[in-house]
Amino acid sequence: MKVLGAAAAVAASAGLIGAYIALGGTSYRPAPVADPCAHRPWRAPSGVAETLEQVALSTADGAACALGVSREDLVLALAGRDDLSRFAAAHHVSQDDAERAIPDGLFRAVEDARAAGAIDGGLAGTLETIARHFPIGLVLDVLQGASRLIPG
C-alpha cells in the first residue's frame, strides 16, 4: 500500500511535468536577433521615408557589426544618455570606437542601397565621401536627442 502511494506520487509528478513540457513548457526562446554582419536584403522602399528607414537600418547593422554587438542593443543604447553609458560599459565601447563605427555603418548603408538598386554608382561615391568627412560626434548627439524631438 505504501509503495503504491509512492508510485502514484511519482506517476502524478512525472505525468504533470511531461504534459507541461509537451505543451511547450521549455520552448521559450527570445525572438531571434539577426547577425548584423550578415547581408540583410532591402525591402523595396516606396517613398522617401521608407528609403531613409532602410538607410538607417543598414547604418545600424554596419555600426553594430563594427562594434561586435547586435543592431538591437545598439538601437536600445541610443534611447538616452544612461542607456548609452550602460551599453558602453557592458560592451567595453569607447567614444572613439563609436565614432569609428558610424562611418562603417554609413558605408554599409551606401553599399546595401547600391546593391538594391536604390542609388546609382555616382551617388554612392558622393555619399561615401560625405560619410568619410561627416562630423560623427554631431550624429551621435542628434541620435541621442532624436527621441525627444518626436511628439508622443
Binding site: 505504501k2 502511494g5 509512492a6 506520487a9 511519482v10 502524478a12 509528478s13 512525472a14 504533470l16 511535468i17 507541461y20 513540457i21 505543451l23 511547450g24 513548457g25 521549455t26 520552448s27 521559450y28 527570445p30 525572438a31 531571434p32 536577433v33 539577426a34 525591402r43 521615408a49 521608407e50 531613409l52 528607414e53 537600418l57 545600424a60 547586435s70 543592431r71 538591437e72 542593443d73 538601437v75 536600445l76 534611447a79 532624436a146 527621441s147 518626436i150 511628439p151 508622443g152
Partner: protein, 431 residues
C-alpha cells in the same frame, strides 16, 4: 498566527517594495529576518517555556503584538526590519510554549504534537492568502494592525493554564534526519509560496487579493491531505511520498507552458498534498519518543524556519538574476520585432517610445504593451499593429514566466534533498 507571519507578508512585498523604494532582494529580508530570528530563538524559548509555559506564552503574545504595531507604523525600512525581528522573538516564545500548553489540555502528547504541527502547516500556508486580501483591501500596514488585537485575545485563557508545567526531563538529542528533512521541505515550501506569489502579482499582474485566492489552492490541498493521513506509523513513507509530490509540483511550476494562473493550479495541488503529508509526518518522527516535547518541538521550529531562510537566500538572488537577464533579452527581442516590422517608418520610433514608456510605468511589473497600440488597430496598418502588439506582449509574458523556471526547479531539488535525508534516517534510525 506566529507561524503564519513567516509568510503572511509575502503578498505585501510588492507594495512594501514600492513604499520604501528598495529592490526585490532587499525587500525579501522582511521574510528572511523574521525567519532567522525565529529559527535562532526557538530552542532557547522552548527551554524557557518548560518552567512556566503560560507566562512565557503571555510574554510572547505581548511582545509580538507590540512589535506588530511598530511594523505597521514603521516610517522606514530599517524600522520595519527591526520590528519583524522583535516579532519573531515573541513568536518563538508563543510557539514553543504552545506545545507544552497543548499537551496539558490534550488526551496525549501525540495528539498535542499533531494539532501543533497541523496548526503550523495551516498557518504558514494560509498566510499569503490572508495577507493578500488585507493588502488589497486596506494596505499592507493592515496586516500588522489586525494581528495586534487578535494576538492579545488568547491572554484571557492563559490564567487557567498557569499551573501547567512542562516536563522536567533532561533534554535528549534531536532527531537529526527528521529535522534535516524538515529544513529542506520548508525551504521548498518557502520557495513555492514566495515565487508563486511574486509570479502571480508582479509577473502576471494579478491583484494581490486575487493572487491570495489563487495561492489558497496549496493550503487547501495541504489541509485536506493532512486530515486524511493521520495513520500511525509509516512516517518515513508518508514523508517520502509527500516530498516526491512536492518536488514534482515545483518542477511542474518550473516548466509552465503559458502565462496564466490556471496553469498553476495542478502543480499547487501536488505541492499542497505533498506538504500536507510531509510536515506532519516529519514532525511526528522528530517528536515521537523524545522528551521533553517542547524542546524537540523547538528543534522542529528551528529547522523549519532555517529552511525558509535557506530557501529565500538561495532563490532570491537566482530569481533576480534570471529576471534581469530575461528582461534584457525581451527588450532586445522587442526591438528586433519593431525594427523588422512593416509599421510606417516614422511611426515606428513613436511606437518604440510608447512601448518603452509603458515598460517604465509598469514599475517592475509585466507591462501591457497592447494598450498604447490599440488606438492604431483600426487604421490602414491595423493588421501589422495588431501583429506587432501581440508579438511584443507574448515575448514579455514568456520572458517573465521563464525567469521563474530555474528558481522553481532549484526548489524542487531542495525537496529531493529532503527525500535523501528521509532515506538516510530510515536506513539509520539512530539519526
Amino acid at each position: 498566527m506566529a507561524l503564519a507571519d513567516s509568510s503572511v507578508v509575502t503578498l505585501a512585498l510588492p507594495d512594501m517594495l514600492r513604499r520604501f523604494d528598495v529592490s526585490i532582494t532587499t525587500v525579501a529580508w522582511v521574510l528572511t529576518a523574521y525567519n532567522i530570528v525565529l529559527a535562532a530563538a526557538a530552542v532557547p524559548a522552548a527551554h524557557l517555556a518548560r518552567r512556566q509555559p503560560a507566562v512565557v506564552c503571555a510574554a510572547g503574545l505581548i511582545v509580538f503584538s507590540v512589535a506588530s504595531l511598530a511594523c505597521g507604523l514603521a516610517p522606514s525600512f530599517a524600522v520595519l526590519l527591526a520590528g519583524r525581528c522583535v516579532q519573531a522573538a515573541g513568536g518563538a516564545a508563543v510557539v514553543a510554549a504552545a506545545l507544552d500548553l497543548l499537551s496539558a489540555v490534550s488526551a496525549s502528547e501525540s495528539d498535542a504534537a499533531h494539532t501543533w504541527a497541523a496548526a503550523g502547516v495551516i498557518g504558514a500556508a494560509l498566510g499569503p492568502a490572508a495577507g493578500g486580501v488585507l493588502t488589497q483591501l486596506l494596505g499592507w500596514e493592515s496586516i500588522f494592525f489586525v494581528q495586534a488585537p487578535l494576538l492579545l485575545a488568547p491572554l484571557a485563557a492563559l490564567p487557567a493554564l498557569r499551573s501547567c508545567r512542562g516536563a522536567s526531563a533532561t533534554s535528549g538529542r534531536p532527531h537529526v534526519a527528521a529535522n534535516l528533512a524538515l529544513l529542506f521541505a520548508s525551504a521548498a515550501l518557502s520557495a513555492a509560496l514566495f515565487l508563486l506569489v511574486i509570479l502571480l502579482v508582479n509577473g502576471w499582474n494579478l491583484h494581490p487579493a486575487v493572487a491570495g485566492v489563487v495561492a489558497t489552492v496549496m493550503p487547501a490541498a495541504a489541509i485536506t491531505v493532512a486530515r486524511r493521513s493521520r495513520a500511525p506509523g509509516g512516517t518515513a513513507f508518508r514523508a517520502g511520498t509527500g516530498l516526491l509530490l512536492t518536488a514534482g509540483g515545483l518542477a511542474s511550476l518550473g516548466v509552465l507552458p503559458h502565462a496564466g494562473w490556471t496553469w498553476t493550479v495542478p502543480p499547487q495541488l501536488l505541492v499542497g498534498a505533498g506538504l500536507g503529508l510531509t510536515i506532519g509526518a516529519l514532525t511526528d518522527q522528530a517528536l515521537r519518543g523524545r522528551s521533553p516535547q517542547a524542546v524537540h518541538g523547538g528543534w522542529t521550529i528551528a529547522s523549519r524556519h532555517a529552511g525558509v531562510v535557506l530557501g529565500l537566500l538561495l532563490l532570491t538572488p537566482l530569481f533576480s538574476h534570471q529576471l534581469d537577464r530575461n528582461e534584457a533579452e525581451a527588450k532586445r527581442a522587442g526591438a528586433a520585432i519593431l525594427l523588422d516590422s512593416r509599421l510606417p517608418p516614422l511611426d515606428k520610433l513613436r511606437v518604440a517610445q510608447e512601448v518603452l514608456r509603458s515598460i517604465d510605468r509598469a514599475n517592475g511589473r509585466l507591462p501591457d504593451v497592447r494598450a498604447p497600440l490599440e488606438g492604431r488597430f483600426g487604421g490602414p496598418a491595423g493588421t501589422e499593429y495588431r501583429r506587432v502588439a501581440g508579438s511584443l506582449q507574448d515575448q514579455l509574458e514568456r520572458a517573465v514566466t521563464d525567469a521563474f523556471g530555474w528558481p522553481f526547479l532549484l526548489a524542487s531539488a531542495l525537496a529531493l534533498c529532503g527525500l535523501s535525508a528521509v532515506a538516510v534516517g530510515r536506513r539509520d534510525p539512530a539519526l
